[in-house]
Symmetry: C2
Subunit: 192 residues, 2 copies
């Protein structure tokens, strides 16, 4: 029995190694550089080993995305917990979101841009994704305003943050005005 347990543990370790290596490689050189050959060489196994853990490359991206979503939710909760007052909390939330996207571009892409084979906005949406949305909702429902559905408001606020994150990183928006855009966003959208 103990032997089987050890093997299971080693297998789980290797699966984590694959995910973290894929993530590192993606952050260092972009997702284009995350080929099955590069990845297998970095983990010091052959390519077929990858396919004994994941159905294919998209599932590896999906695993990175789930890990990232968990971290994003935690980062959002940490930022809002440290802020005092509703306005400061929403500002902190927005900054934390954009900071996460800026500092983990590859992970952010895995969650929201790339096809990781993940379901969204349906029954079987993975838990980390629902939780990240919940983390947004927790702080935003307090500033949605009367008669406005909190979920709808959160969706809109989230969309705005997502647009700022992607357009900024793609070089479509000048990065130096980021803070002013966040202030304007919160001042207009949030009802304090």
């Amino acid at each position: 029995m103990s032997v089987q347990e050890r093997k299971q543990r080693e297998r789980a370790d290797r699966e984590r190694l694959i995910v973290t290596t894929a993530r590192e490689l993606a952050e260092q050189q972009g997702w284009d550089a995350v080929t099955t050959r590069q990845l297998s060489e970095r983990i010091e196994y052959s390519q077929p080993v990858l396919y004994s853990h994941f159905r294919g490359k998209r599932e590896i991206i999906g695993a990175v995305a789930l890990q990232g979503a968990t971290e994003l939710a935690a980062a959002l909760r940490a930022a809002t917990a440290a802020a005092h007052g509703p306005r400061a909390r929403v500002i902190a939330l927005a900054r934390a979101y954009l900071d996460f996207a800026a500092h983990n571009p590859a992970v952010y892409d895995a969650i929201f841009q790339l096809d990781g084979g993940l379901a969204f906005a349906v029954e079987d949406t993975p838990e980390p994704l629902k939780d990240a949305f919940a983390a947004l909702l927790e702080s935003l429902e307090q500033v949605a305003g009367d008669g406005v559905h909190p979920g709808l408001f959160t969706e809109l606020f989230w969309a705005a943050l997502h647009g700022l994150a992607t357009l900024t990183r793609a070089g479509r928006l000048p990065p130096q005005d980021a803070d002013r855009r966040v202030e304007l966003l919160v001042n207009r959208l949030a009802i304090l």
Copy 2:
């Protein structure tokens, strides 16, 4: 001379053929299906012909993007011109933007998601892209509010629209509430 002119004309025709074929193929089967082999077969030339017109696949995507940006700018101007009153105009602008993204997903991706090798937010940004932003600015500067930089406001509004467009199309936002989100966006962001 006339012979050379005819050849130049035929060359220009073929270049347009490549771009429109790439666009059609992308809208029908997604950009993944736009391979140099598929594309060359559809235009009934061999692959190297593509490379006599464009440096590579990314430049073809870029050409589709520029064509799309021109149409987007025209669609935005047509929608705002037909609307009366500042609020109706901004609503029409937002709807037109999201409609364009919904009805031309591949083109929208070419402009804003994919790497078409285009420069943004810098000196040598291609004219169609600057013009599309200008079309947004024309209607939005009137509702930016006092003391708010019109360009910054437009960037924020645009980012919100972009977020709504991409998240909706990726299945991250339920599509049936699109109109309500647009109304909320305009009610909150625009100062009438």
